[in-house]
Symmetry: D5
Subunit: 118 residues, 10 copies
């Protein structure tokens, strides 16, 4: 039944480029597959950024995250890849991507990557 | 990449059938698809039951829930269907299935179904 | 800009009428107006019911609650009216409507009404 | 500066006397004086009742509780007195008054009184 | 320096004997000594009772609990003894004494005793 | 029924201009409309500022926020616009405006804008 | 290094056999081994009982639970076995044993068994 | 009945003036009157300071805060006035006064003022 | 019955003196007496330090804190005295002592003292 | 039954060495033995590090921590030893190891060690 959306991020012009301000978008419904076992992984993805010329459109961000649903992804690599895609799309003055993965084997893993200084 | 497991539930003999006791299994990682929009839905599935001759095997229960990942399912129907599958597999003295769905459109939905009396 | 939806509730056939089961729908975004002062009131509306022949459609319930946005409504009366509208639409075996209003004048008010026995 | 309001409770007709339903009013700002030391006491007053012919008006309940601000009152007596005043004003089918007093001397005291059966 | 108060409980007449109502008194500062090791034990003592002719005076209850400070006391025995002392002093219609002891050896112990029916 | 108040902010003289001090005002009852769908949005608006010559009057701030009730507003734009209006009214030494929007499409969005340095 | 204690439970005479009262003992440090994989499992063991002639000695209960450290044990079986051992040792008027196991494979399991009526 | 204490603060010599250390005193029972409506306001007053030659005596601080019970006071002004009184009494090396007022009109207000650097 | 231990602190050699690392020890069971009234006071004592040549032995720290059980002690003075005793015993590179006293007269007091820089 | 795994840490190449990013791994299931009494100790081990050329493999980290199950270990020493083993295996740009031990004798101990600067 499922046809996954493409990994395209829509953007719109920053309504207040003269000011440094922060946008936080928390998505507790990220899921991908473990590349070793093929079993589902789950995470909360927290994005925080200071826009420059463009902002990321919210629905587009939701669909982008959804597109990983049938993708095999390691924790460390996928966190950096999502941040790279965001930077390619909107080139923010600053961005921080935090991926809080669900417990596996009694172990809780979180990966946090930043782009630019604050 | 994903090949979903079949909807088979493994069982094992109840180690203490002479006693009425309760087993609770909470699974916060249930996901299916909305039949109207095709978009992902997420839920926590809480099962509580008093076994008769058989218990449901934990890993099998996890795989069973995982098998809904690419299935379109309405909240009310899928909750009753999961309970029906459990009853068909182990015929428990009592069972209660609670599905706590993630918020959609500002609305939080939970469905609770029971089988047998307590 | 706002054109409020009509107070119509859509229904669909109960997928499991042979079983008594419970549906809970929590809506933390109810707002109406105070009939005395014209100022906004806010509430969380919690519905819990056992369906008979029909269930209330979720999006329709959201729009129904939204339709009170420009209506003057007393706490006690509006809670009973919402329950009456639900009963008229789906005639459930049991229903419970709880309206948890935001604090006003240092006072927190909640109204709880039931229809049928459990 | 302070002129305390009189201990008068305003009422209004129950909008749904054909149904037994519950009204809860929580007031975390009750204060009176300790009859022994003259020092201030503080409490949260929780009222829950099933109205018969009348309901108590919310602003009037707030002013009524405020009227104790300069009154000396023992914990056990004042809880019963407030419930008696409510019963005299609206004669509810059921009422429950819970007074949760702030800690004094390392001891936390709560008094709960009921009128009628539920 | 310390001179412990005597184990005397002061009482006062119940201001509303015609009504069954409940008084709860929580004391998180109970301490006694372990009879085996002589080391300090700590507990929260929760009393809940329905008074008959008399109520226990709050300061007196605080001093009574304080009087155990240098007493060796087993968990199970001291909980029942405190309840017995309360019953001897005020003969309540109902009483419940809960002693929640601090963790010892990785184990959390609570003892709950009741007098009369509710 | 509703006649929205104008977007006017009342001010009063800072009672202690010789000291840098901070005023925080949290308003959990902000609601506007989504410019795309016309459906209601909800947010908590947190203001924190260091006053210079003037402070914003609390009731006026409440009415100002209420005036957005029938206005279409994007998250990023409306947060910056509210901060701009505050700066125009009282020109504070520092101000921080945080808008925490309710979840939409499984995504939680917050926008934070500052004026001046701290 | 480790020499596990024997599975012996020490008891002492109930200090108040004339009263039905409840003893609760929570032990968050239970660990055994998974019989399939040999990997460690962890659980919180909650015991609640009404003693008859004897009570279980606390340190002995701690050592008893510790004795499972190198034992392979299924969730359902070990919970019933612990309850059986307690009943054999003190024959309580009522007992309830709840084993809350740590998450495994995204699934949280709890087993609850009772002996006698309350 | 009430005779308010005078606004006098008692002090005692700092027992360790050679060290910079911090004293925090939280008082959740502050109440004054609204100068516009005459109705009661409530706040938690949090004081934090580094003493120089003197410390403020705790009971005296409690009575000082109590003395506002029948005083009309604006949020911003009273917070600064309390800090000024403390500075006049003990001239601390640093002080911070935070007044967290109860919600009024759906709005939560907090005022924070500091004296000296840390 | 009680014979208090002496105020002696045992120490052991720092197992990793080449690294600056932090040890935190929280003791929620500190009790002493109020020098004015002779009544018990209670506090949580939180110690945090960076060891130099020696560490404080845990059981010895527990006994040291217990030795205050029958000592009259002012909040501000006893906090500084405990820190001084620790410094005398192990001369740490940094230490922080926080004493969180139980509420008295509606007022919560905490004292925090530091030794050395971090 | 138990055969403990060896203390070997598997590593894999850092997928994004050009960026300083943080990996956090929380393990609430660490257990070792007290070297004095031979009784079990329990801790939550929190690791946070910035990888250089290599990352530690998650399952290997779980097995490494499990290998302490029958080892006698002092709190301060074992925390530093685990950090040393991690540094030897992956030589991270920064690492922080926090061991939060379960309460013993009413005392809660935490040890925190860092390697490199942040």
């Amino acid at each position: 039944m499922s046809t996954l959306p493409s990994k395209e991020l829509d953007v719109f012009p920053n309504p207040k480029p003269s000011r440094n301000y922060t946008i936080r978008i928390d998505s507790p419904e990220f899921t991908c597959l473990c590349p070793k076992t093929g079993q589902p992984d789950f995470a909360t993805i927290k994005l925080e950024y200071i826009p420059d010329a463009s902002c990321v459109e919210l629905k587009s961000w939701k669909l982008y995250l959804w597109s990983f649903r049938e993708t095999g992804a390691f924790h460390e690599a996928v966190t950096n890849a999502i941040l790279d895609d965001l930077v390619a799309a909107i080139n923010p003055r600053y961005a921080r991507l935090e991926a809080i993965f669900n417990v596996r084997g009694g172990v809780y893993t979180t990966v946090v990557a930043e782009h630019g200084g604050r």
